[in-house]
Symmetry: none
Amino acid sequence: MNIHSKQKPLSTQGGTGNKRGQIIHATIRLISEYGFHGTPISMIAQEAEVGAGTIYRYFKDKDALVLEIFEQVNKDFTTTMLHEYDADQPIQDRFIHLCWGIFRFGIQNPHEFKFMEQFYNSPYGTTLRREKLFCNCGDSSQELPLDKVFSTGQAQHLIKDLPLNALIAHSIGPIVFLVKDSIAGLIQLDNSTIDSSLKACWDAISVKRQESDIQ
Amino acid sequence: MNIHSKQKPLSTQGGTGNKRGQIIHATIRLISEYGFHGTPISMIAQEAEVGAGTIYRYFKDKDALVLEIFEQVNKDFTTTMLHEYDADQPIQDRFIHLCWGIFRFGIQNPHEFKFMEQFYNSPYGTTLRREKLFCNCGDSSQELPLDKVFSTGQAQHLIKDLPLNALIAHSIGPIVFLVKDSIAGLIQLDNSTIDSSLKACWDAISVKRQESDIQ
Amino acid sequence: MNIHSKQKPLSTQGGTGNKRGQIIHATIRLISEYGFHGTPISMIAQEAEVGAGTIYRYFKDKDALVLEIFEQVNKDFTTTMLHEYDADQPIQDRFIHLCWGIFRFGIQNPHEFKFMEQFYNSPYGTTLRREKLFCNCGDSSQELPLDKVFSTGQAQHLIKDLPLNALIAHSIGPIVFLVKDSIAGLIQLDNSTIDSSLKACWDAISVKRQESDIQ
Amino acid sequence: MNIHSKQKPLSTQGGTGNKRGQIIHATIRLISEYGFHGTPISMIAQEAEVGAGTIYRYFKDKDALVLEIFEQVNKDFTTTMLHEYDADQPIQDRFIHLCWGIFRFGIQNPHEFKFMEQFYNSPYGTTLRREKLFCNCGDSSQELPLDKVFSTGQAQHLIKDLPLNALIAHSIGPIVFLVKDSIAGLIQLDNSTIDSSLKACWDAISVKRQESDIQ
DNA sequence: AATGAATGAGGATTCATTCAT
DNA sequence: TATGAATGAATCCTCATTCAT
């Protein structure tokens, strides 16, 4: 199976019913394209082929709709990253695997990816970040896998001694840019391009042990 | 003078009057925080301590206001990047200089920086990108300095043979992430952190000449 | 049945619902009195006992509301004129019949009549006239019954050889004035007054056959 | 001198100064075209090449501006009608003379004519009419010349025994229609057309003495 | 006297949300 | 349960009027 093959979007697997799924999909598609404020409930209702009032049977209000979708999409995102992930592999392999997951998710779920971007660049996102920082409420208490890779890699002196945020910036930052460009049609993300990009990411964060040490 | 020292925001230097400047600043501050659609004209008027109608004396409508500010901020951004830039320096120095400029601009003009981010993540930004791509109208015909560095660096086999978009992703992507984190208070961007981050960016895109060449 | 007896205004017969009819009636009443620009949507909403937003469920915007009403009223007007009209009658009878129709319509539908006047004296009306003149688009291609009467009457040398516009001016001009005066309470339009007015109209446009014939 | 020859508009002869005249002319031109509500003060100021505030030096507010202009135009209108009027002539000649005046005024002062029309078809006009009716305030107490012609003509059994309003409707109604059509370019009002139209007006209101006399 | 920048009340329109069916 | 008509608060924008210069 190729990275570009279509697959049933994760975000509705396990949904409680059909209408709910239709609403979620419509919301993702529309918000990913027009943004939160550019997407009226009426438009969602129409795209979902559902009455406007029906949306309020499933979600308290527009905020709740978006928030709930974000959490679902975020969960799906993590799931994709962790698919076939083996924590016993070497650090570099684990890093590459996780980053591949981001590419996979973004390419296979462009709407969901852009939705997340919209979300992070909205007041929601800011609020969420702060909450994640200051109170460890929610289920975000568990250490994220990438963080684990970084801390372990640093302990093994494979990864540079940069702040965690910086390591994330140097690995996820480029990928986000690339996936967005890919969705916008500005770049063709074939496997070799992805491979060399991931190599570049690794170059950015890894200690260049090989050159001096080995020899 | 330190990177963190405050300075008069560029975007109003040379403004035609006081009210106009107040409006621009208020808009930048508010949109950087709440986004375009989350910032009503009335809120701008209040923040600018100006009547709502006054805004329309200076700008045709809300779109024109935002567009004009974006163009000004973008110009200021380029100016900051190119400050004391010397195209005769070695590629790596030029790369570092330009990237430092981004950090400088983002740290000294956090509102402007977030404003630009909001802009690029809105339908405006999408449109703008497409226009830049398909028609080389406007004054965007001149090659951007970073692009020049990349193409020159590639010609000298100093920089990896990645697509231009990918090179940009690997240099600007991390910086944008870091500046945003810095503005959000999630990381302290002191000079040494910036230096090591820029080193990481260079590692990502540069050919590791040393290893192979030396031997 | 007397000319002055009230009757259900034509313009809502066959309306799709109640609210729509309320909106139309309120609009006609208010615009007939205060004019297009003197009648805010909020006033229409209040008069129609309807939320302001409701109006936009039925009409795209204020222009569409007015335009649609005008077309309906115009249609009703024509219907009233042509009621029991017999094209086989002598010219004078046909002329009188049609003009009586204008009186009937104006007296029984004073608001609609003044609405039409407002419309014709607004930029809408001017535009409409020009369109009618220059392109025979729409369904205005069919000759109006009064025009037919005039051309036929001229062919029979019963009606003066004046330009069509002049004939219309001499027949409709006085009637419009009279109906407006009647609505304003400045004149009592009983049947005998109408009869003698119509006789005057006929005198204005008809060839005085009698005199010459006798001699 | 031909009816179509240009002449200095009456409405500013004897004005107190230049600015005032400019304002009045601009207002007439613009309101005649766009209507009262379609003509902002700012537009008048621009057309008059005068500061917006200046208008308020000469007129209390927009209402006063329009009202005052109307009174002036109305006075000019009467003046035009009465120009070289001889109350000792036969009734028909006097009638023709006065009606000719209306044509003259309308053709030579199309903006003023349309302004008056706009005025009469606005709430102002309605109000004015009522005031004219119920209280004989203002200087409207004097009998209008046309009224005098009608009453005298009726006394001489030359003019039909119709209500005064009806006589006005049958004489002014057609003329107003014709002048409006002329201004709109829908008809060419040369002298012979005007003559025959006035003949038609006379036919409408006059007793057909000839027929019966002959017998 | 003349100006036109500044104001804010008021107008058109949108849209999240409710509720009767 | 599902609907979509109805609502009115909130938004963008206009424009009559004021007032400092």
